[in-house]
Symmetry: C2
Subunit: 286 residues, 2 copies
């Protein structure tokens, strides 16, 4: 196709950074912003993240070749409903949600015949910050984007979305939505829950002030993700409930095993677990 | 006193960095290294960390004014036994162990009349690296050192150890050993167990290669402490067993609460927990 008109719904860290990256790569003819908040869109315009904006989602997608829905998972369904009537024939819709099975269900319900041109996607990128002011063009450089097309998804639509993310600097891979949701439950959703849970647990101690005063650098790193957006993470948990609960149960068993080894004073068992973990972490994270 | 002769038993990251800091501050007349491994001591000498070394612990402490025991918790008892006969009258012994009640018991058993000159200490510093090659003089700059004197500990001994750590750049505070062990169980020992447990749990998944391949930056930060030394952490857990088990039970209850909220689809409850955690983390860690 000639340079596409890209409509970004939700110009926060994820959507805004994609807009900036696509502009830098000269990928798009125009970038149209859309979303609920006029002040956010105005700010995105002022920051040069988008070329123009539309508050009506139905109008925003009219004439767009690619529509990127970068809103919290809890808002996906409503956005799909709002845009369905405005989509041009052949327009490609994709998203940036952190869970994929739930988004696919939302899209199947609301996009009608357009569902064949919906490409479920998830850029594995982000920081604990959020909002358009935090957006930057390099966010996706050498980061992975996972696409999870269904058996109904148009191959050419997958190719177009792949080209878009590559233009933004990312590596694109495909897998099933179910597999994605389990893998991400383990490497992202569970760790966030563990970090939120740890800080809340310590915060409930009577010794709270001291507890945090004597925290060292390791604690700061370990709890960084507990500064993430609560609403976004509520939505992720609820929208990937089964896989997250599965991982939480596996983790509970692991910690119960560690607890029992400690209770029994079994230093060999503890050392074996720590050695396995250190080796795995050193191997995979360098 | 005139400049003290300082004997450092265990010239790894913690002992070696203290030696370098004391040299830089011109605090000591001489720094004598001691330990089990001749090659480590030879390396410490070559790196300028110590002025000379002694393989016999009993001989190493002869003539020393301050003895710093910076060995793994599991080795404390044997070291105290070995040095007891060599200590000069009035020589001050301190340690750098991450748990304090167990070290106090070890010292009470082995140091005899010298126990009044034993000052239990814990510098809240370190990295996931270890060994003398990782030592650096600035490790303790603006870090906290907790001293946990007992009701038998000489006040002047506490003052001398305080002066030593201040010379190394640290802020020194006193609290009870019991309180120290609970606070550190929460901010350090539990987080390490959670990180070791998470990596081991994911490593046991069939999807293991992919799980780590799709890990993002947050996961790297979250699991950094799982690269820590397995033997050291085995010893810390075993030597602070009651407090660590107490914190593990509190954490298990917290995660069970999160699990049940998720199972019930209770988004409000999840959001409330995440918001409390984010606020506490932002408040305390900036």
């Amino acid at each position: 196709m000639t340079k596409p008109v890209v409509c970004i719904i939700g110009t926060g860290l994820i959507g805004g950074s994609l807009a900036l990256a696509l502009k830098q790569a000269n990928f798009s003819a125009e970038i149209v912003g859309a979303g609920r908040s006029k002040s956010t869109l105005q700010k995105a315009l002022e920051l040069g993240v988008i070329d123009r904006y539309q508050l009506s989602l139905e109008k925003a997608v009219q004439g767009a070749d690619i529509i990127v829905v970068a809103v919290p998972l809890g808002a996906m369904h409503a956005v799909f409903k709002d845009i369905a009537a405005g989509l041009a024939p052949g327009a490609i819709v994709t998203d940036a949600g952190s869970a994929k099975q739930s988004v696919i269900m939302d899209a199947a319900k609301s996009l009608g015949g357009h569902f064949t041109h919906f490409v479920p996607g998830h850029p594995i990128a982000g920081t604990e910050r959020s909002g358009v002011a935090a957006a930057f063009a390099e966010l996706y450089q050498q980061r992975r984007v996972i696409l999870t097309p269904t058996d109904k998804t148009s191959l050419s639509a997958v190719e177009t979305v792949t080209a878009m993310w590559r233009a933004a600097g990312a590596e694109v891979e495909c897998m099933s939505a179910e597999h994605h949701d389990l893998v991400l439950a383990g490497t992202s959703h569970l760790p966030h829950l563990l970090a939120f849970g740890l800080v809340d647990c310590l915060n409930n101690l009577e010794e709270v002030d001291e507890v945090f005063r004597f925290a060292a650098g390791g604690f700061r790193d370990f709890t960084r993700i507990a500064s993430s957006d609560p609403v976004m993470w509520r939505d992720i948990c609820l929208n990937n409930k089964e896989a997250v609960m599965d991982m939480m149960r596996r983790y509970r068993d692991e910690m119960e095993n560690i607890y029992q080894s400690l209770e029994a004073g079994d230093g060999e068992a503890l050392k074996a677990i720590f050695e396995r973990a250190k080796k795995a972490r050193d191997d995979f994270c360098g």
